[in-house]
Structure formats: C-alpha cells, structure tokens
Amino acid sequence: MADELESPAGALIAPTSASSTDRFGVLSRSTLLRHTLAALVGFGVLWLLITSFSDYRNSSWIAPIAFTVCAAAGLTVLVGLSGQISLGHGAFMLVGAYTLALVQEHWTTSHGNLAMIGLLAAAAAGAALFGALVGVAAARLRGPYLAGATLALALGLPTLPSYEKLSGKLGGNAGLFVSSPNPPNGMDLYRWQSVICCASAVVVLWVLANVSRSRVGRSFRAVRDDEIAASLCGLSVPRVQVLAFVLSAAGAGVAGGLLAMIDLTAGPQAFPLSLSFGLLAAVVFGGLGSLAGAIYGSILITLLPLWSQDITDALSVHSHKVSSNMPLMVYGIVLTVAMLAVPNGIQGLLRSLRLTLAPGRRR
C-alpha cells in the first residue's frame, strides 16, 4: 500500500533536495521566516476579503472553507506524507467539537475572545490525544484494513452520545450547546466567525508547513516511501506513524471546534460519513500531500454544492425531485469525472503544466 501512495509532489511540501540543505541552521530558520511571512500576507488578504464580503459569503463560503482547510490539511499530511489512510477524519472533528463544548461548559472565564484561543487549543489537544490512541492501533494496520477501521470509527463514534450512560453528559442525539463568540465592537457575528476560522486555518497551515519541512516531515516521507529502509535508518516506524496521526487529528480537532463554534452546537449528526468522505475527496482532488492542494480541494467541496444549488434554483426546474437532487448529482459527477480526468489532482495538474511551460525548471 505504502509504495502505491507515492504522491504527486505538492509544491509546498515536495520531497526535494532542499532537505539536505535544511541541516544548516540559518536556512532552516529562514524557512520558518518565509512561512511566517506567507502566513501574514495570506491572513492580510483574507482580512480584506472578509471585510468586503456580505454576511452570506462570510457565513456560507469563507468560514466553512477555512475550517475545512484545517481538517483537510491535517488529512493530507497523514495520507500524502506519512502514507497512512483515514476514511474517518470526521471522527477527529467530532472529538474536537465535543472537547470544545465540554471545556466551555466547565470553564467559566471573563476573558471572552482570549478564552476562545484556549478553547480551540483544547479542541486540538483533545483530538490529538484521541489521534494518538487511534494511531497506536493504526500503526499495526495497512491498506484496506486501516481504511476499514477508520471507516468504522467515523460511523461508530457519533452514536456514542446516544448511549444511555453517556447521554446525560454528551447531550444525546441533540448534542451540546456551544455559546457564540462575541464579536468586538463594530464587527458583525458572521465576519467575526470568518476571522476566527481564517486565523485558525492560517495557523494550522503554518504549523503543518513547518513540520513537514522539518526532520519530522522527512521521517514521514521516509516511512511512506519504504518502511523497511526507514527502520534500517534507525527510525521507529510505529512512532513516526503515530505522530502523523496525532498531528493530523489536531488539525481536524481545530476544524471540529470551529464548526461547533459556528453552528453553536456540538452534535453527532454534524459529523456524518459524508463529511469524512468529502475531506478525503478534497485532499485527493487538490493533490495528495500538498497543503495548497488541501486549500483548492476544500474550496471545491464547499462551493460546489452551493453553486450547483444556486444554478438549479436559477434554472427553476419544475420537478422538485429533480431540482432537490441536482446538487448531489453534480457533486457525484464532478468527483468521478475529475478523478478520471485529473488523476493527480489540481496540484499535480499545475505541476505538469509548469513543467510543460518551463521545461528548463525541471530540477
């Protein structure tokens, strides 16, 4: 399985010769600087977008795209870099959401928006802890067996709040309430939610970009490419694999926390199997292993259903049966056709375009 997962090297985190130069302190520090600069610029641009967008675009586009990016970025590190698979990343989002809700419930503080950073960190930590647990089990499994186990996880975990002995604490099928973040003066709720989501996404991307360029990232790739060779080089393969799960789950945990904060609720039905599948589709469609690809993929899976709905509405199809299923159908067709037409994802397509247009840059 692992060898088959050889990914189209994503631009952000391509396994390049740069790894050898990273040993020089100055350069690796400048990598950090570069990422920080990119993050700041990125957030600045997002800020402009958020303030110019309407309530609708902020609440239905920006915020959902941003939290999807958090989860997809984590997943692409797991699948694309460490060569493991998860069909159930929604489960980690669920753990993040419930962690946030539970911490909020038991933690009274007057620090408002400062507390929010703590809540999101808690969501990340809760999911990371759970990720470690899952990772230990996952390190023993390969290919379809790991796929099956994570799938069962995504399906099983959302039923847990309904269990009689836990439903008192976890709110049953209805879930837990989460109180809304308080926008600072002069900003409306939707913009503020978008700001929180985008800031979180930028932080998650920044962390993952730095990690994947570090020694840890190289150990992920080494294990992905050849477990036996990696262990001969002194890497503990299970330890590396667990670490990948922990990192990946933390990203999903932040996403889940954000989702709960926007929906004002942490409930099991917010994390259906289709969410996990959508995340996987996002990272594969964007280009496996590439953080930029995770962004493209998240944009696609968030906007595609909204746009096909709008187009269907505009066409005013008479039959309700047809119009109500049109977005789903477009989604299914786009997924299938995209995989057949662009097997390496958008990032792979961009890379091959770049190579065609400027063959001299082939390293």
């Binding site: 186990a149 799938l151 036996i228």
Partner: protein, 297 residues
Amino acid sequence: MFRFLNLTLNGLTNGMIYAAVALALVMIWRATRIVNFAQGGMLMFTTFIAWDLAQVHHANYWVALVVAVVAGILIGGVAERVLVRPVENGPPLNAVIVTLGLLIFLQALAGMIWGNSQAHSYPPAFRFIGYKVGDRTLRFSPNDLFIVLSVLVVVIALYVLFQRTSLGLQMRATAFNPEVAGLLGVRVGRLLTLGWALAAGLGALVGVLVAGTSSGYVTPVGPFDALLIYGFTAAVIGGLDSPGGAVVGGVVLGLILSYADSYISNFIQTMYALVVLIAVLMIRPKGIFSRTSERRV
C-alpha cells in the same frame, strides 16, 4: 432462554445479509483490489427498480427479483468497464473516490426518479409473521428463513463456480496474479468485468431481501448505507481475500450486534461493529482468515 433464541435467530438472519454484502465486496476486492463503496448505492438502485415493478406495476415478486438481479449485473459490469477500468492501476485512493462519486450519483439519480420524500415499503416474499413455538411467537418468520436459505444457496453456488469450474479457476488465477494469468491466455479484462457484475448481482439480491424485512424501507439514502458498512466490517473481520472469511465474519458480526443491542443498548450499534473490528484486527491485522502475511515491498 426464549429471548436468547430470538436474538440468535435475529442475529443469524442479519448476519447472512452482512455475509452476502461482505462476499460481494470480497469478490470485487479479489478481482480489482478496490473496495467498492458504491455497493450500497448499487443495491439501493436495483431495489428501487424492483420496487417500481412490484408496487407500481404490480409485477410478480419473483419477476421483480430477477429483473433487479439482472439490472445489478449490468450496472456492475458497466461500472467496471467505464469508471473503474481507468483508475484500476492508478493510485488506490482515486479508485475510492470514483466509487464514492458513483455512490453519490446513484443516490441522486434514484432521488430524481423516485423522490426522496417517501419511504416505500416492499413486500416480503413469504409470511413475515414469526413461527409459533407453543403459545409464543418467535422473532423468526418464513421470510427470514427464506433470506438465510437464499444467501446460503448463493454462497454454495459461488463456491462451486470458483472451485469447480474452469471459469472459476481463471478468476482465481486473475485475482492471484493478473499478469501471469494474462500470459497464460486468460482474458483478464473480461474476468474483472465479470467479477464486478457477479458481485453487483449478489448485492441486488440482498437489497430486495432486506427491503422485505420489518426494518427495511426503500429510500435513496438511509438503511442501505449501513449495509455497506456492516458488510465491509464483516469482510475485514474475515480477511478481505477470503470469501469463506467474509461469510463467517458476517454471521459473527450479526450475532454480536444482536446480543449487544439487546443486552447493552440499542443506540450504539455501529459502536459494537467498531469494537469488534478493532479487537479482531489487533490480534490478526489482516483478518481472521488471512494467510501468512506477506507485505509487498
């Protein structure tokens, strides 16, 4: 004791259904090394065809069943040729996404044709009222017996096909090593298509059987999704390469779910599936019936 008997019979019936889905998944896995996530969608769609015939056009139960199975075979074959063939040798995740895309497409198409707003009931083949034991009535009916027996017959037929015919030999050879099989004159592509077609036909049978039970309704999205998950769980428990393992895995899962549902809680059914799966995989990482583990390097 009566309760335990009821739960056992109930678990057996459900288990046979999971076993059949698992078997279909194993057949496809052996043929093309792909887990077919569209299995649930495919059998949902063929069950709708049967429903349309039986309930709207008042066709005979058996006619509707046969048409559904034939439709399943066609859908499976076409899906392999058109959608799966191009990604068969690509990255494995692409094949996963393609089958997911097909699942979503089929759900949407069924919704467009038959609507999502109504849950349709489907006639059982035989009496669905349980057998009488003394003055008590079992939770096991002639229709449940029919389900158990039909899956059993199909399993035996498939066993004979794989083990006793030259077609079966070719299919096994293809599953074992497509390149060598091709060199030996086996028409590999055609056999892969056949594998998908047979699996989808089996799925279609399961769909119609489930629709006629007292927990089955025909809807584009819903009960049929769970079937795929339990079927997949059963297949993984048994070992994805082992048809016999799939059947055993299905029955074991059915029984465990039935007991746990009643004795522990019936709100966390999928949680039991997870626990069983993890427990089995921690002991045997490639399922109960896996051969000595070989890792492709």
